[in-house]
Structure formats: structure tokens, C-alpha cells
């Protein structure tokens, strides 16, 4: 079967004018503009099969959004090739666009003053969705995203979480085969994040759509992606199973504890390395294998009010990965 996405040596340089300081510099740069090239994506080759759900990770400025923009056809690469669903994305053929959806967490396509339902109707017309399909998809999305009564309220009156879910529904009405999600959970609270995650997973399983998602939220990635691609300064650093990435690079977990009486750092040293300890709260780094033992010891020997076991932040893993290579 043909892959959903295949790129070879995909490279993107941004060219931005160098701003010279001062008035004179400004005038000079009007006449003789100098440019600086920034290589945002560097020789990226990857292959994603139909129906895969892949996490795309990297620190700020690593080149994730730029890659997604090229795959959706918004940007033309400086060098390299890409095929998405058999199309060259930046030709922006209607046949391709009807099978694609790009969702950027910070951007909205909904009409602000009107209920989201109106934007849905517009997208129905734009994508030429038959009435029966529209009804069917809408029912499913309303159900999965728990949108019900929110569709008849002007979008500007929705909370961020409600709007984001409406945004996802608007982006999926046409049943895209390829879904590019750029930080879909940004700014959402934990409950909303979970809802969006569950939705993405369910959508992937039900429709077999190929999904590529970026997030700085490790929980998103752990919950959703078997495979991750890590990118650093525009280059692919790791492409493979998430399990292996986490095991080999995040060799410890984080224990976040709140006690009912103050505790000193020196008491906790035997349990793991103390990242932070102040009054009644403490944060420990504990090797993966010792997590349950340490947690049990904590609960046994201290007045614990609250205890959380967390994965290391994805950025930390990425940084570690970077220093390993």
C-alpha cells in the first residue's frame, strides 16, 4: 500500500530581511535589503503509513510547524520532495485539500459572531459534503466531542475548550484521510486535554485516518502515539517506537508529593534525587524501576496528603536525547 506521507530530503529555509538599527539603517535597508536565511527544516525524510498516529516532537523552534505547513501545502520547500496521499501538497489541488485537514491550536476558522453550526454549514458547501454524510458526520462528532448545546451559541461566547472542540468538529466534517494537528491541546485544562485526546484516538480508530500531531504535552503523546518522530533544529533525531524513546531516554519518573506537615530535603534523599523541597511540598526524581518502592516508602513513613507520579516533561526527554547523540 502507498504510504500516506513520504518525504525525501525536505528542507525549508526562511528568508527574513535583516533589520538595521536606527533611522539611517532603516532607509539603507529600504534601498538595499539584506536577507538572512534560517534553515527551519533540514533534510527530513520520513514515511508514514495510512492509518498511523504519529507524534511529532521537538523543542520550541525545532521545525515542527514548518514541516506540517509544508505537508499541508501552505509552504513550498526550499529543497526536497513530498507526497501526501499521493499529491504534491504545495500544488494545492482541490482533490488533495478535500482529503486533508490542518488544525492549528492557536488559529480559528470559526465565525466569531455566529454559532459554530453556521461555519459547519459553510464547510459542508466548501467541501461539497452530501447532506446525508453531513448529518452522519455531525452526529458522530457532536457525540464524540460532547458538543450538544454549544453549537447554537455564538462562538465568541464559548470557553476555549468548547471552542477548540467545535474547531475540531469543523475541521473533520469532511472526513479527512490526513489530519495534521499542531498543538491541539494548547491552553486547555486537564479535563479538556483528556477529552480531546480521547477524541483523536477514537477518530483514528474509527476512520483509519492518518494523524500527525505535535504537542509539548507528554501525556498527549503517551496516550496517543505508538510512534514518535523527534526533530531538533530541523533534523530528525529519532524516529521509532515511543516505548523505546521513553525507556532509553527518560530513565526516571517524577514524584510530586504534598505532606500535611513540613518535611526537610535531607529526609527524602534516600528515596530519590530531590529536585525541589519547600515546606509541605516536594518533587523527587526516581529511577523508573524504583517508582513503586519509593512511593510505598513515602506513604509508609510520612504524612502524605497527596502524591502524583508523572512522566518527565517531553522537553526534558528531548533535551536528554539531544545530549546523548
Amino acid at each position: 500500500m502507498a504510504p500516506a506521507i513520504e518525504t525525501k530530503g525536505l528542507t525549508k529555509d526562511y528568508r527574513s530581511p535583516v533589520k538595521e538599527p536606527g533611522l539611517w539603517g532603516g532607509i539603507r535597508s529600504l534601498v538595499n535589503r539584506r536577507y538572512k536565511d534560517i534553515r527551519a527544516v533540514n533534510d527530513v525524510s520520513l514515511r508514514i503509513e495510512e492509518g498511523e498516529l504519529v507524534g511529532f516532537l521537538g523543542a520550541n523552534g525545532a521545525g515542527k510547524t514548518t514541516t506540517l505547513k509544508m505537508l499541508s501545502g501552505l509552504l513550498t520547500p526550499t529543497a526536497g520532495e513530498a507526497l501526501a496521499l499521493g499529491h504534491v501538497p504545495w500544488r494545492r489541488e482541490a482533490a488533495f485539500q478535500k482529503k486533508l485537514s490542518l488544525v492549528m491550536g492557536q488559529r480559528s476558522q470559526l465565525w466569531w459572531e455566529l454559532p459554530a453550526y453556521e461555519t459547519f454549514r459553510l464547510n459542508q458547501a466548501i467541501y461539497g459534503i452530501a447532506e446525508a454524510d453531513f448529518k452522519m458526520h455531525l452526529d458522530e462528532l457532536v457525540d464524540l466531542l460532547d458538543l450538544g448545546e454549544h453549537l447554537s451559541v455564538p462562538v465568541k461566547k464559548l470557553s476555549l475548550g468548547e471552542r477548540m472542540r467545535a474547531e475540531l468538529a469543523a475541521a473533520l466534517l469532511h472526513g479527512p484521510r490526513l489530519l495534521l494537528l499542531d498543538e491541539p491541546t494548547i491552553g486547555l485544562d486537564v479535563v479538556m486535554q483528556k477529552k480531546v485526546r480521547e477524541f483523536v484516538k477514537a477518530y483514528n480508530q474509527r476512520h483509519g485516518a492518518t494523524i500527525m500531531l505535535t504537542s509539548h504535552n507528554m501525556t498527549d503523546v503517551v496516550a496517543l502515539c505508538k510512534r514518535v518522530i523527534v526533530i531538533e533544529r530541523g533534523r530528525i533525531l529519532y524516529d521509532g517506537a515511543l516505548d523505546r524513546l521513553v525507556e532509553s531516554y527518560a530513565d526516571h519518573k517524577i514524584l510530586r508529593v504534598r505532606f500535611s506537615t513540613p518535611v526537610t530535603a535531607s529526609d527524602l534523599r534516600t528515596l530519590g534525587s530531590v529536585v525541589h523541597c519547600e515546606g509541605e511540598s516536594a518533587t523527587l526524581e526516581v529511577p523508573r524501576a524504583n517508582v513503586s518502592a519509593s512511593a510505598a516508602a513515602l506513604l509508609r513513613s510520612y504524612p502524605v496528603a497527596d502524591l502524583n507520579v508523572e512522566e518527565v516533561a517531553i522537553d526534558d526527554i528531548v533535551r536528554r536525547l539531544f545530549s546523548h547523540s
Binding site: R15, T66, K69, G73, L74, E113, E118, A125, G128
Partner: protein
């Protein structure tokens, strides 16, 4: 085609939804009409006519400006500049839709609302100054006027698209658009009839598409243009429309390419 109809109907709803914005717009336009009206009234004084315009013709011209302003001068330029600089333009570029078609549909919705309310305002004013305005008898004049107005509004729409597309290259394209709109209102005759200007400037202006947007339609309405000549004016305006559409789409394509290359 259906997508543009749906866009039109949604935009119509939205315009009506934002009643306070609409009201402010209308009040602004109304204030211009009232001040122009008082201005010309003062200039006319007791004279029966001034620079070739009788009192009722001049009043009619002023009221026509209100209608044409509402129908012709409602482009989507500022939206385009905003969408390019904020990057929102992306959400259209990844969907199977023509930005110009879509914008035109939204513009038509604006025009519908504004033209209707301008018409009501003018009817009210005409009633207040009881009968002092000129209405053409010949239905052909009305038809020619309507055709000219529709062409003008299309020319204006694409001119705005043309100028706003500069935003693909510079972050300061609000400036050019602002100057353009101001100059255009003057050159189109939206402040005063152009034939009060010196001959030389008139000749210069008539080599541009601008007088075709307010001045000529208004003159057609005032029956100051014989019908064959009116038809010729329409033909020229149609040619201007073709040229402007061609230029706007061409620049747009270039702009999108550079946006895709530089990553707006």
C-alpha cells in the same frame, strides 16, 4: 457555486448580528451626506444653479453619493490585509475555495445590507426636503445607472484586492490601502462632481478607472449623458474591470507564492 451562496448567507447573518457596527457605519455615512448637503446648499445660496448643476441636481448628486458609497465602497481590503498579516489567510489556502470568490460573496452580503439601508436613508431625506430631488423618467436611464453601479462595485472590489495583496510583501500595507481609499474617493467623485475641477485634471482622471465608479454613474442618473454615450462608458468600465481582475488575480498568485516561499 453553492459554497459562495452559503458564504453570502452566513455573512448576511453576521452583518445583521453586528448591529452596533452597522449603525456606526451608517451614521458615519449619513454625517458625510448631511455635511456635503449643507456645504452645497451654502455655496448655492440664492443662485438657481452653480457650475452647471441646478439645486435639485446637486442635492440628488449628494444623495446618490450616499447610495453609491454604500454599494460601491465596501470592499474587503482591510480584511485581506489583516488576514495576511495575522496568518489567518492560511485557513483559506488549505481549503478548496477561491479566496476572491469567497470574499466577493462576503462583500455582496455587506453591500446588500448597506445598499438597503442607504436607500431607506435617502428616501427619508428626500421626503424631509420634500420633492427637491431629480428622478429620471426613462426606465432605460435607471437600467444604465444600475449596470454602471454594479460594474463600479466590482471594479472597486478588485482594486482593493489588488492594493491589499501588497501585504504579502510588506508589513506596512495598511498605509497604501489607506492612501488608495482616500485618493479613490476624491478621484471617483465621491466628494463633489468632477466637472467642477479644471479641464486638465478632468482629462487626466478620465484616463483612470476612478470616474467610472461614482461620477459617471451619477451623471447617467441625472440624465446628463445621452444613452449611446452611456453605453460607451459602460463598455470602457467593463474593459477596466477585466484589466483590474487580471491584475488582482495575477498579483494574488505571486503573493501566495511568495507567502509559501517565505512563510508569512
Amino acid at each position: 457555486m453553492k459554497k459562495y451562496l452559503v458564504a453570502y448567507s452566513i455573512a448576511l447573518q453576521e452583518t445583521l448580528q453586528r448591529r452596533s457596527t452597522l449603525l456606526m457605519d451608517r451614521l458615519g455615512g449619513f454625517a458625510i451626506v448631511v455635511s456635503l448637503y449643507s456645504f452645497w446648499n451654502a455655496l448655492l445660496g440664492d443662485k438657481p444653479s452653480f457650475l452647471g448643476y441646478t439645486r435639485s441636481e446637486m442635492l440628488t448628486y449628494v444623495l446618490l453619493i450616499n447610495v453609491l458609497r454604500s454599494f460601491v465602497f465596501t470592499g474587503r481590503g482591510w480584511q485581506l490585509v489583516g488576514e495576511i498579516s495575522s496568518g489567518r489567510i492560511s485557513s483559506y489556502l488549505v481549503r478548496p475555495i477561491s479566496y476572491h470568490g469567497y470574499s466577493l460573496a462576503l462583500d455582496m452580503a455587506q453591500k446588500t445590507v448597506h445598499a438597503v439601508s442607504a436607500f431607506l436613508e435617502v428616501a427619508l431625506l428626500a421626503w424631509l426636503i420634500s420633492g427637491g430631488i431629480f428622478l429620471p423618467r426613462d426606465p432605460a436611464t435607471w437600467a444604465l445607472f444600475a449596470a454602471a453601479a454594479v460594474l463600479s462595485s466590482l471594479v472597486f472590489f478588485f482594486l482593493e484586492m489588488l492594493v491589499s495583496s501588497l501585504a504579502f510583501w510588506t508589513s506596512e500595507s495598511g498605509g497604501p490601502l489607506f492612501c488608495f481609499e482616500l485618493f479613490l474617493q476624491f478621484a471617483a467623485g465621491a466628494f463633489f462632481p468632477l466637472d467642477v475641477l479644471p479641464e486638465g485634471i478632468q482629462r487626466l482622471l478620465s484616463a483612470t478607472p476612478f470616474p467610472y465608479m461614482v461620477f459617471f454613474p451619477a451623471r447617467i442618473f441625472l440624465d446628463k449623458v445621452p444613452h449611446p454615450e452611456a453605453l460607451r462608458l459602460l463598455a470602457v468600465e467593463l474593459a477596466w474591470l477585466a484589466a483590474v481582475v487580471f491584475a488582482a488575480l495575477g498579483l494574488w498568485r505571486q503573493g501566495v507564492q511568495s507567502y509559501a516561499a517565505e512563510g508569512g
